[in-house]
């Protein structure tokens, strides 16, 4: 019973994320594209949830769907001079197409060659507290490096957008 429900949920979410990504790329309206991106992020959060990664799913929803996509939409709407500018014609360049085909081929090759590990789900689901303990003991150094990188990016963004007062 539970496995059937999980299976159905997985196919729905997988369809939603891949379909959303395709729609995002194919829609001509940038605002619609941003909303499709949001949908893809949410579907990804749902996939994490199916894997019992509750914390990761929530952070995905909170940070990517809740904050990053708001930022994307905000930027799009701030930079659109007129409402009609949101709809752009499709201008495929041969170079871009060739690059996409090359990338797609390389990815396909890599995935088909790779030995994907088949992990077994642990008997008991780790809690958020367990997650925090591992993150701040075993993975403390990578965590600190990541936060340092983000800090540098933040300071850089502030410096860059300082304008004339610099």
């Amino acid at each position: 019973m539970a496995e059937t429900v999980d299976g159905i949920a997985f196919f729905l979410l997988a369809f939603a994320s891949i379909g959303g990504a395709v729609m995002m790329l194919s829609t001509r309206n940038v605002v619609h594209a941003a909303f499709w991106l949001l949908e893809v992020m949410l579907a990804t959060a749902g996939l994490y949830l199916l894997l019992d990664a509750e914390f990761l799913a929530l952070v995905q929803a909170l940070v990517y769907a809740g904050a990053v996509s708001v930022l994307v939409l905000f930027t799009i709407m701030l930079t659109l001079r007129r409402r009609e500018d949101a709809v752009r014609p499709f201008e495929p360049g041969w170079g871009a197409l060739a690059l996409a085909a090359l990338f797609g081929g390389a990815m396909l090759l890599a995935i088909s060659r790779a030995q994907l590990p088949i992990g077994a789900m642990p008997a008991s689901v780790p809690t958020t507290a367990d997650f925090g303990r591992v993150l701040f003991t075993q993975w403390a150094v990578p965590f600190e490096i990541a936060s340092l990188v983000l800090l540098v990016a933040l300071v850089g963004a502030v410096w860059w957008s300082g304008g004339d007062r610099r």
Partner: protein, 340 residues
């Protein structure tokens, strides 16, 4: 019963609570604001106008559903749902008593905030889809506000999480059971260390839930009705139902985090336990009353002052509070070891 049926029933129960809350709150809003403004509010329908909201719902259901010509049709339809669904989802983790809640989540606090963080997206969607300058401005304000206030709101509850070591809403309430000095309930609101936290939380939460001194996305004195300008009939009804439900959720969160949730002090355990959901809902409505009181008292702030308050004051303050709390938590045991 199969687990699927139970889940469906739970969702329906949350929906029922949300609808009932909408009806109660609209009546309450009119009466409370009316009396705050020295007028009566609705009087005609039923005693003290108690049936006014029911009539309003009937009116909304039978009104014409107008679709503006310049609207982005698909998004215009989707936006009320994009506001409504996260608002409904946020009920899932609220602890009405130690057992009565839709789901017991290890990360309940984070979940509720995640659900609430989608509401401005729906508002932005509504603002864009309406094809109207006022609406778009309202939507943009909602988004800008959210970017500015999401961070202080999340940071403001962090000291409590650090203190209790859990984000499970039920366990956060249990951490507040018992009394200090024989009579003062151990609610976090009575902990002087958490007073600044509470202030930051209240301001950020009022802004996040679009309450009136900060309802920049609606601001009827500047933007007609903001993001809701072009909406009519039940689409408008859905937008406002969600707004009222967000007020309930924010108030319920404040009750859970600071006012001891379902706990009732000074009474025997058994009485407190049997009255738990009633206590929780009553406390929540007291919180809503205070929110309405603020709404009826303070004039609306300006959007630029609001943004300044968020970025330049609340974010640094809430960061400092987290650091102070960390030092206190680590220093207290060390101090006790030195003294003892």
């Amino acid at each position: 019963m199969s687990p699927l049926a139970v889940s469906v029933l739970k969702v329906l129960a949350c929906l029922g609570l949300m609808l009932a809350n909408g009806v109660v709150m609209i009546w309450m809003l009119r009466k409370v604001l009316g009396h705050l403004h020295l007028r009566y509010g609705p009087l005609e329908m039923g005693p003290s106008g108690i049936l006014q909201t029911t009539m309003d719902v009937l009116k909304l259901l039978t009104k014409e559903d107008v679709m503006p010509g310049a609207a982005d049709k698909a998004l215009f339809w989707l936006a009320p749902l994009a506001v409504f669904v996260p608002s409904l989802a946020a009920y899932a983790a609220l602890p009405f008593s130690s057992t009565l809640r839709a789901t017991s989540l290890d990360t309940g606090l984070l979940y509720t905030f995640a659900a609430l963080s989608f509401v401005p997206l729906g508002i932005l969607m509504a603002g864009w889809a309406s094809g109207n300058k006022w609406s778009l401005l309202g939507g943009m304000r909602a988004a800008g506000q959210q970017i500015a206030y999401e961070v202080p709101l999340l940071l403001s509850v962090l000291p409590i999480v650090m203190l209790t070591g859990t984000t499970d809403l039920g366990r956060l309430v249990e951490a507040q059971s018992g009394v200090w000095a024989g009579f003062l309930p151990r609610w976090f609101i009575f902990d002087p260390l958490l007073w600044p936290t509470f202030l930051v939380f209240v301001v950020a939460a009022l802004i996040e839930s679009n309450q009136t001194p900060f309802d920049m996305s609606e601001a009827e004195s500047e933007l007609v009705a903001g993001f809701a300008t072009e909406y009519s009939a039940m689409k408008f009804g859905l937008l406002f139902l969600s707004e009222f439900s967000n007020h309930f959720i924010i108030s319920a969160l404040a009750v859970t985090l600071f006012f001891g949730g379902w706990l009732l002090p000074w009474v025997p355990e058994g009485v407190s336990a049997s009255l738990a959901p009633v206590t929780f809902i009553l406390k929540t409505y007291v919180g809503i009353f205070v929110m309405m009181w603020i709404r009826g008292t303070f004039p609306r702030v300006r959007i630029d002052t609001l943004m300044e308050l968020g970025w330049k004051r609340l974010i640094p303050i809430s960061l400092a509070l987290v650091v102070v709390m960390g030092i206190v938590i680590k220093a207290m045991p060390a101090l006790a070891r030195v003294v003892g």
